[in-house]
């Protein structure tokens, strides 16, 4: 073999580096730089000042939004995991493999199907005089106010994340060695003990991954808190949109964005640590 330069590998390797460098890393770096810029007469000017950081992090409304977002996303992660688990358990252990495969098939479909229109449908469904209250009314209940509340936002988050969480949990549960479970039974473990001491630890990675994705997606979502949660209190994503769209204050929006990314990084690392770290 001659040692001349072989271009072949680079033809396959470089496109991603170039494209993601230009259109993924580039924009994010610009955003970080932008957070130190100044807006004068509605125009951004490159600079290096901490004014935007000072203005945003020194305000209560930022921190209120921050804690609301963090709390809601955490709640969404926990709730989605709890709601999904019985379904995932059923799909992994109580139905045929064909049923499981079709169930996953039909869970993937909504994950890629217009979230916005689904949220609009919830707006109709949950309205004061909407179908759900009408049905409850036949039973002499309600009407309940479900829109423009934390409850409304949570329904939206579940719409967004439940299919994904069920899929991830089901895969990890279905991958558990059945012999392990049977061994637990044979050794006299109760169903409860089997669940907590065998099944949950064995499926740990998928369970944590599911909760983490639910957290990440809910943390960044703006549709549910805006259209179903009534945007009061605003979440960080709503803050970014308000700051960008109405105020032309892109640098301040960038500060919020960087705080969000930092939070997600911490959460992701903690999750990876919890999922792959040594068991106690």
């Amino acid at each position: 073999m001659s040692k001349r330069f072989d271009a072949y590998p680079y033809v396959w390797r470089l496109p991603l580096l170039i494209w993601q460098g230009l259109f993924f890393v580039g924009p994010l770096i610009l955003m970080v730089a932008m957070s130190f810029w100044l807006v004068r007469n509605y125009r951004m000017e490159p600079d290096f000042v901490l004014k935007n950081w000072d203005r945003m992090l020194g305000r209560d409304y930022f921190w209120n939004a921050y804690w609301v977002t963090l709390w809601r996303a955490t709640l969404a992660g926990v709730l989605a995991s709890l709601i999904a688990f019985p379904a995932s358990y059923a799909l992994a252990f109580r139905v045929s493999e064909t049923t499981r495969r079709w169930a996953i098939f039909f869970l993937i479909v909504p994950f890629f199907t217009s979230y916005l229109v689904r949220v609009y449908a919830w707006q109709v469904l949950l309205a004061e005089s909407g179908p759900i209250n009408a049905v409850l009314g036949f039973g002499g209940l309600g009407p309940f106010t479900m829109l423009n509340s934390g409850f409304g936002a949570m329904v939206g988050y579940m719409t967004l994340v439940l299919p994904l969480v069920v899929i991830l949990q089901t895969f990890s549960l279905a991958a558990i060695d059945r012999n392990l479970i049977e061994a637990a039974w044979n050794l006299g473990a109760s169903p409860r003990e089997t669940l907590f001491q065998v099944i949950l630890p064995a499926a740990r990675i998928g369970l944590i991954l599911g909760a983490t994705f639910a957290f990440i997606l809910s943390f960044g979502d703006f549709v549910s808190p805006f259209y179903l949660g009534g945007s009061k209190p605003p979440t960080l994503s709503i803050l970014i949109i308000d700051t960008t769209k109405s105020g032309q204050q892109w640098p301040r929006a960038a500060v919020v964005a960087i705080m969000m990314i930092a939070t997600l990084f911490v959460a992701a690392f903690a999750a990876v640590g919890a999922a792959y770290g040594r068991r106690k």
Binding site: P9, Q20, S114, M158
Partner: protein, 259 residues
């Protein structure tokens, strides 16, 4: 069947109802005469479809969405395939970082991508154009395309490509005659899926679109006004389109996986 099995099945039905209820709701109310939908239903009507699709801006939006989805899906699929092939065939320094770069975009909140893209594309002079949306959607779609192609490549015996080389084919020829035909179902599948991703994405598109609105961006702006059953009509068309794309995408992979 154990009683607990029945309980589990009911739970599954309840969960699937929750997941599909909004989709069904949109479809049902798009054909229902009430302006503020509730039960019992009003009369059957195609009025909302007629009013929605008699508006020229709706057609323009669908045209824009179509152009963007067709281009972004092609770019995403190409980018996803070359990256998946690199991961399949080569090991090199910094490969974990390379893969992270390939797979990270979906974890960045869309609002943040929107803000960053708005600023960046503005500097490049393509903010407010359809090309800008195509660029953004390609970044977001490529990881999905890569995952699908990688899955398919992992089913390919690496000896297959080597056999082609031994028979005298150049690397390029082997790629064309062996690898690409083997991956064809995955490529089509990735194309459909990334087209669906692009067709449904509205936050980044909303930030960078300017006056060139895609369908979901138009829906977003109508939504900021009032309850309007035309959205159900437009939404139903959007649902059917993206569901068809995702179903085709999945069937293509499953058929080949089982074979």
């Amino acid at each position: 069947m154990r009683p607990s099995d029945i309980a589990f099945r009911l739970y599954l039905v309840a969960l699937f109802t929750f997941v599909f209820l909004p989709i069904l709701t949109s479809m049902v109310f798009s054909l229902n005469s009430d302006r503020f939908p509730t039960v019992p239903l009003g009369e059957f009507t195609t009025h909302w479809y007629k009013t929605a699709f008699s508006r020229p801006e709706v057609w323009t939006a669908f045209g824009n969405s179509l152009i963007v989805a067709v281009c972004a899906a092609a770019l995403s699929t190409a980018l996803g395939f070359v990256t998946a092939y690199t991961d399949f065939r080569y090991g090199f320094r910094f490969k974990p970082a390379y893969l992270a770069l390939a797979l990270l975009p979906p974890t960045i909140p869309l609002v943040i991508m929107g803000l960053a893209m708005l600023a960046w594309l503005g500097r490049l002079g393509i903010s407010g154009t359809l090309s800008g949306i195509v660029v953004a959607h390609t970044v977001m779609g490529a990881p999905f395309a890569m995952a699908i192609c990688r899955l398919r490549l992992s089913q390919m015996d690496p000896a297959l490509e080597a056999a082609a080389w031994n028979l005298g084919a150049s690397q390029w020829r082997a790629m064309r005659a062996v690898v690409i035909p083997f991956c064809l179902p995955a490529l089509i599948s990735a194309y459909c899926l990334t087209a669906a991703v692009s067709f449904d994405e509205f936050i980044v598109a909303w930030f960078v679109s300017g006056l060139n609105k895609t369908v979901p961006v138009m829906i977003l702006e109508i939504l900021q006004g009032n309850v309007d059953p035309q959205i159900n009509a437009i939404g139903t068309v959007v649902f059917l389109t993206s569901m068809a794309l995702v179903i085709v995408a999945q069937l293509l992979i499953l058929r080949k996986t089982n074979a």
